[in-house]
């Protein structure tokens, strides 16, 4: 069911964020700074069913994520240098959990190698269609999650 997909994605994202980085989703958020670029981290799964996952957040959120994963200072050199890797690995884990939640554990799925890129413009954060797009907040930062079903997806 489409609505379950968006809810499942948001739930798994929140759970992994809490388990891995001790960070929590909430309702409060601040408007992103104009000079804080948006990044998109993408990963897919291939097998009996296919799908692609996109995680959009600001650069400053990736610093925070990396800092929490490593136990480092959010603005420190360590967190800054590890931010991209942290975001990619985070989505690697979310994707693995999502595949199991949506398609069970009987079939083998291969995950693509996650990629991260800077977005050319700020995403439309009002987009939350309850189907394949979920916009949430974590630690005061807005985050957008997009799920794209493949042609063979259930």
């Amino acid at each position: 069911m489409p609505q379950q997909r968006a809810a499942t994605l948001a739930t798994i994202f929140s759970d992994v964020l809490a388990d891995l980085a001790f960070m929590f989703t909430d309702d409060a958020h601040e408007d992103p700074a104009a000079d804080d670029p948006w990044l998109e981290t993408s990963i897919g799964y291939r097998g009996k069913y296919n799908g692609d996952l996109h995680f959009r957040c600001t650069r400053s959120f990736t610093y925070l994520l990396a800092a929490n994963l490593l136990g480092a200072e959010p603005g420190g050199e360590d967190a800054v240098n590890s931010a991209d890797d942290a975001a990619k690995e985070f989505m690697n884990i979310v994707c693995g959990q999502l595949v199991t939640a949506l398609h069970g554990s009987e079939d083998i799925f291969n995950l693509t190698i996650p990629e991260i890129s800077t977005m050319t413009e700020t995403p439309d954060l009002s987009l939350d269609d309850g189907d394949n797009v979920s916009t949430i907040s974590a630690e005061g930062h807005r985050i957008q999650l997009i799920f794209q079903r493949g042609a063979t997806d259930a």
């Binding site: 992994v16 388990d19 891995l20 990396a66 994963l69 490593l70 136990g71 590890s82 890797d85 942290a86 990619k88 690995e89 690697n92 884990i93 994707c95 693995g96 959990q97 595949v99 199991t100 554990s105 009987e106 079939d107 083998i108 799925f109 291969n110 995950l111 190698i113």
Partner: protein, 141 residues
Amino acid sequence: MSRNVLIVDDSATIRRMVRKTMDIAGLDYDQVYEASNGIEALAQLADHEVGVVVVDINMPTMNGVQLLQRMKQNSRLQDLPIVIASTEGSKQRIEQLVEYGACAYVRKPFQPEQLRDALMPILGVKENATAESGNTGDDFF
């Protein structure tokens, strides 16, 4: 038995987390080597004596399954303890990994004690460590 550990994961963040977990758990290891894919791992294994390998599955160039296959074909490496630390949850995949020599599987996101429990039977703990043992439910084959 060598107490050197090889951590194979394309994420530097995860490699550091594994290393940190081993320190916190007081595991008795000597040297840690790292690799970001299967090719690098084989190079490390050719150059260094290793007592246990912690391997991710989803990696570029040569993934974890391919690495285990190559290790199984090598008489020097085929009996090396292998702990899988992966995001995948497929039963077929786990069976495949066991077939290729994996002795334990920890699913990401793992709690530190889960990794500790997988590595402790292989490495043991240092004499002055106070690590607590407990079965947290992850598979040990």
